[in-house]
């Protein structure tokens, strides 16, 4: 289905999430489902939590215990295929990559969107970070109701 539509199946998505109890701290969710020659996520991780190996076509493997959810891999991935996820009380908190204008503003409400491009919920913009190292890929921290943990993937301006 991914081959035909570009949308990962719920099973594929869930397979990239650690167990909910491991999400008490933010963890990387790496949605790289194909063998592509690429390894910046692995070489960028300061905690060596992402393993690809000598054959850079291998899909990245996350060591959940070493991952601190810092988000460096999120803005390093050329495919923008990584985000971090965390569960805090009744909220799911994500750090997502964003490369459009206008940038979201902290404390604003944007639309929460699923992998099919459909608006599914409100998303609260918590933080917006852009450093030189991120090279114009903004890191946006977003919170949504935790029931959207496996559905939410990005935000969209309410005006669009």
């Amino acid at each position: 289905m991914l081959d035909k539509t570009g949308v990962a199946t719920p099973e594929q998505v869930k397979s990239r999430f650690p167990q909910p109890e491991q999400l008490l701290k933010p963890k990387a969710i790496i949605e790289c489902y194909e063998d592509i020659p690429c390894n910046p996520c692995s070489t960028s991780c300061p905690f060596h939590a992402i393993e690809i190996g000598d054959d850079i076509n291998n899909q990245p493997q996350l060591n959940v215990d070493l991952c601190t959810g810092c988000g460096i891999c999120v803005t390093s991935c050329p495919g923008l295929a990584i985000m971090t996820a965390e569960i805090r009380n009744n909220l799911a908190i994500f750090k997502i990559p964003y490369e459009f204008l206008p940038y979201p503003e902290p404390n604003s409400i944007w639309n929460g969107v699923n992998r099919d491009g459909k608006v599914i919920c409100d998303a609260n913009i918590v933080k917006v970070l852009l450093t030189n190292k991120q090279d114009k890929t903004v890191l946006v921290t977003v919170s949504v109701d935790k029931k959207y943990l496996y559905d939410f993937v990005t935000v969209r301006n309410k005006n669009e």
Partner: protein
């Protein structure tokens, strides 16, 4: 006539990389490009590149161009650059003819690297010549080089990496991408690119193609049609989409014309994009001392073009007497990098194509 040790035709990623490794051996290089600036198609690539650190992974294409150009500038005492210069002739006695500022200049070379890249393919459909119907490169040129929107409501045709990436770039520029059409049953490029588009709300319509364009003086509508599993149009599935631009991203074809003129043996290899030269393991063509690098030798990613450039620069310089002690080690490293880039499932087509162009004996 002026003699040059190594002439490199094309200042894109392959040509720049070749100039650098050749110059580092002490060889004198003349690097020629027909554009006002070096960098080839890289200067329009706003996305971060894949590959590994050796191929500048995670760096935006336009910044890779800057890095390659600044590497070349560190060897400015041995690399001469001429821009706005088109190599219009390649003759049997190791001579090239260069058109620059409306004058012709002839140079004799000891070795030559052709790194002319590839050009856009076209798709046959009714009224495909209407203004507003562009190749993907044209859309990137207008948007990213000149800051001009190619349209405001566009349909993309082709789901290879170029179609997927340019669709994303169009959205970044503020253009509404109404749909992406793909005639095949599957998306051709990396799924991560496709996923980015789907979450932006772009419909990816597989087994769908463009049947005709409609407009007077400029396209304002297209008619799409669905294809069955034998790629035949299914009557009754025609749909109209209002557009003011159409982007055709159906692949690139090597710009082999100088090689044909020079008499290099060529072969038609669909897996590599079209007519490509027969080459040995060091990228030398069937003509002594004429090498190739980049898309002209087979359409791949820019990361392969850069490594092929590094390799052919060293090989060409060695052929004319400039060889560093670590030559064999460097060549082996570049060949291994190319192998790694091509070893995954996306490399299968390239590997099959490259088998067809191996010269009978290795240099």
């Amino acid at each position: 006539m002026t003699n040059k040790e190594l002439i490199i035709v094309g200042g894109g990623p392959a040509g720049l990389a070749a100039a650098y490794t050749a110059a580092k051996t002490g060889c004198h290089v003349l690097l020629i490009d027909r554009n006002p600036q070096m960098g080839g198609q890289l200067i329009k690539q706003t996305h971060k590149f894949f590959g590994s650190e050796k191929q500048f992974a995670k760096t935006r294409g336009l910044n890779i161009a800057k890095k390659l150009i600044s590497d070349v500038e560190t060897c400015s005492d041995r690399i001469e650059i001429i821009c706005d210069a088109t190599v219009v002739g390649l003759y049997a006695d190791q001579v090239v003819n260069v058109l620059h500022n409306e004058k012709y200049y002839k140079y004799h070379f000891d070795a030559l690297i052709i790194a002319t890249g590839a050009g856009e393919k076209m798709l046959a459909f009714e009224n495909n010549d209407l203004p507003g119907i562009y190749g993907a490169g044209a859309v990137q040129t207008l948007m990213n080089l000149y800051g001009v929107l190619p349209g405001q409501n566009i349909v993309m045709v082709g789901s290879g990496n170029i179609g997927l990436i340019v669709s994303y770039q169009l959205i970044q520029a503020g253009v509404h991408v109404k749909a992406l059409l793909e005639a095949a049953p599957k998306i051709g490029g990396y799924k991560v690119h496709a996923s980015k588009l789907r979450r932006l709300g772009v419909d990816i319509l597989t087994q769908t193609t463009i049947q005709r364009a409609i407009g007077n003086g400029c396209v304002n509508q297209i008619e799409t049609i669905e294809l069955d599993d034998s790629w035949k149009p299914i009557k009754g599935t025609e749909k109209l989409i209002d557009v003011d631009a159409v982007c055709i991203a159906v692949g690139l074809s090597p710009l082999y014309q100088l090689l044909a003129m020079g008499g290099a043996e060529l072969k038609y290899v669909p897996e590599l994009g079209g007519m490509v030269p027969i080459v040995d393991g060091l990228h030398q063509t069937t003509i002594n001392n004429i090498f190739v690098a980049g898309d002209v030798a087979g359409v791949e990613e820019a990361s392969s073009a850069i490594v092929e450039g590094y390799l052919s620069g060293l090989a060409a310089a060695a052929k004319i007497g400039y060889q560093q002690p670590d030559y064999q080690k460097s060549i082996a490293d570049y060949q291994q990098q190319l192998k790694n880039l091509r070893s995954g499932p996306f490399g299968a087509k390239i590997r099959a194509g490259l088998k067809k162009v191996e010269a009978k004996t290795n240099a």
